[in-house]
Symmetry: D2
């Protein structure tokens, strides 16, 4: 991929992050993006926690799903968009630390269905540990179909 | 279940909702709770949406997972707590409207593992439609194990 | 639905069961089928078990997935077919008995994606108990796309 | 791990494969096993197919689940055993060829819950392609709890 194509891709993905209020509200940031992959991060704050002081599963799910969507978006045509059909998230370790990192990688990009896996790591300053893993199934749909009436 | 037991149960579940910052931050409210079931709601606002104007999958996942945890909590002993191990969420219809409703029902309560299904409905004022469904697996663990050090 | 349409539907579903070697090899039988639903059964034998003497998860998965496919098939056009994209199976209780029963119900039938839930019951002669539950996502594709070259 | 410990581990895993009638009936074979991983294969025959001539999802699910169980078994104590709680299988490509290969790898081995991912490849003689991927959650239980009464 040429540098200019990479820049256009990154600009498009940045736009999706900026235009998604829930993603903005959580504080999810784009770190890096390339063909079939996306890396994101989230600086953790009190508002991201559940009642025992760990990061809420819903925060991890949002990060995993949104990053998967961004990774899948890199492999569709300009007149297409992706929509999550379903995802499964396995919570492997209780998540605490200063930030979450997510690496999403496309497993299979199809004409109508794309499958992505997202790994979420907790970074406590000393190191990273894998805290959850999701497999996300997305539909590839014409852009015209996803605009609310 | 006697009325006083019911009230104690509801008070305990309300406490879990109140003490979970992410649940508070989203605005998830407890509607009703009983043995093996929990009903919740969320008044929808701009901050809950993704970039096409629909409710973000992460919002639905948080509602489904948290309600499942509350339903599972009603069937454990006072010295036990539940923690989500994994969940899968199927997004059935694009979600819009004034509020989301979630009904979580325990499928199987075991000594160490409980399985709950959560149905999420969108209410647009005129009626409700099923927008997503989750099946959530939770571990039943001694309370002492879930307090961060 | 008229009786003649029902009969044609049932004949088509029976054909799918008869033409699937793995389904025949296991011994899965069609019990009943209607718009958006399918009921199947499997007489249990030694060959269906895992090493502790319970029904292997793979047998339950096959029953749940195939019944879901049949239920989804009832709602597509004659020139379309369904293919499983993914499924999740929760094993709720160890399965033993004389036969398994499966009831598959369509949760959402879409133009390109259909979601079905399948409940598997074990029947020990005295009664039935829910032993596993699956949620299955299927793609609706033109018939021409599913014939091996 | 010493060679003698490796041999004992492999012997134990081979015993599990030999004593599971459904695994024997399908023809699943152990290829290699080590701490936290297991590789298996299945020579494909007519009886493994669905009605379009591809490998049935249930065959892939059985291979993925059983291999995950074997991988998880390598990390438990001699007086413990593993039981699948749930798994999700994503079908990425239609599976055809001479044999299936499965590589199962433990993502997280816990005291009571272990999570494993299994990748299934189809080998058509010319090369291998990833046809499905599962994430499997297993309970670690005392051996005494898994023997049917």
């Amino acid at each position: 991929m040429s540098d200019s194509k990479d820049s256009a891709l990154e600009a498009e993905i940045r736009r999706i992050f900026a235009e998604a209020p829930f993603v903005q509200s959580l504080g999810i940031e784009l770190v890096d993006v390339g063909a079939g992959r996306c890396e994101t991060q989230l600086q953790l704050a009190q508002r991201h926690l559940q009642h025992h002081g760990y990061v809420h599963a819903g925060v991890q799910a949002t990060l995993a799903d949104h990053s998967a969507g961004a990774a899948a978006s890199t492999l569709v045509r300009p007149d297409e968009q992706v929509l999550s059909i379903e995802f499964k998230l396995n919570l492997l370790r209780r998540a605490r630390g200063q930030r979450l990192l997510c690496r999403a990688t496309v497993l299979k990009a199809g004409r109508t269905v794309t499958v992505v896996e997202s790994e979420v790591y907790a970074d406590d300053g000393a190191g990273q540990s894998l805290v959850s893993k999701a497999v996300v199934t997305l539909a590839v749909v014409p852009l015209a179909h996803v605009t609310p009436g």
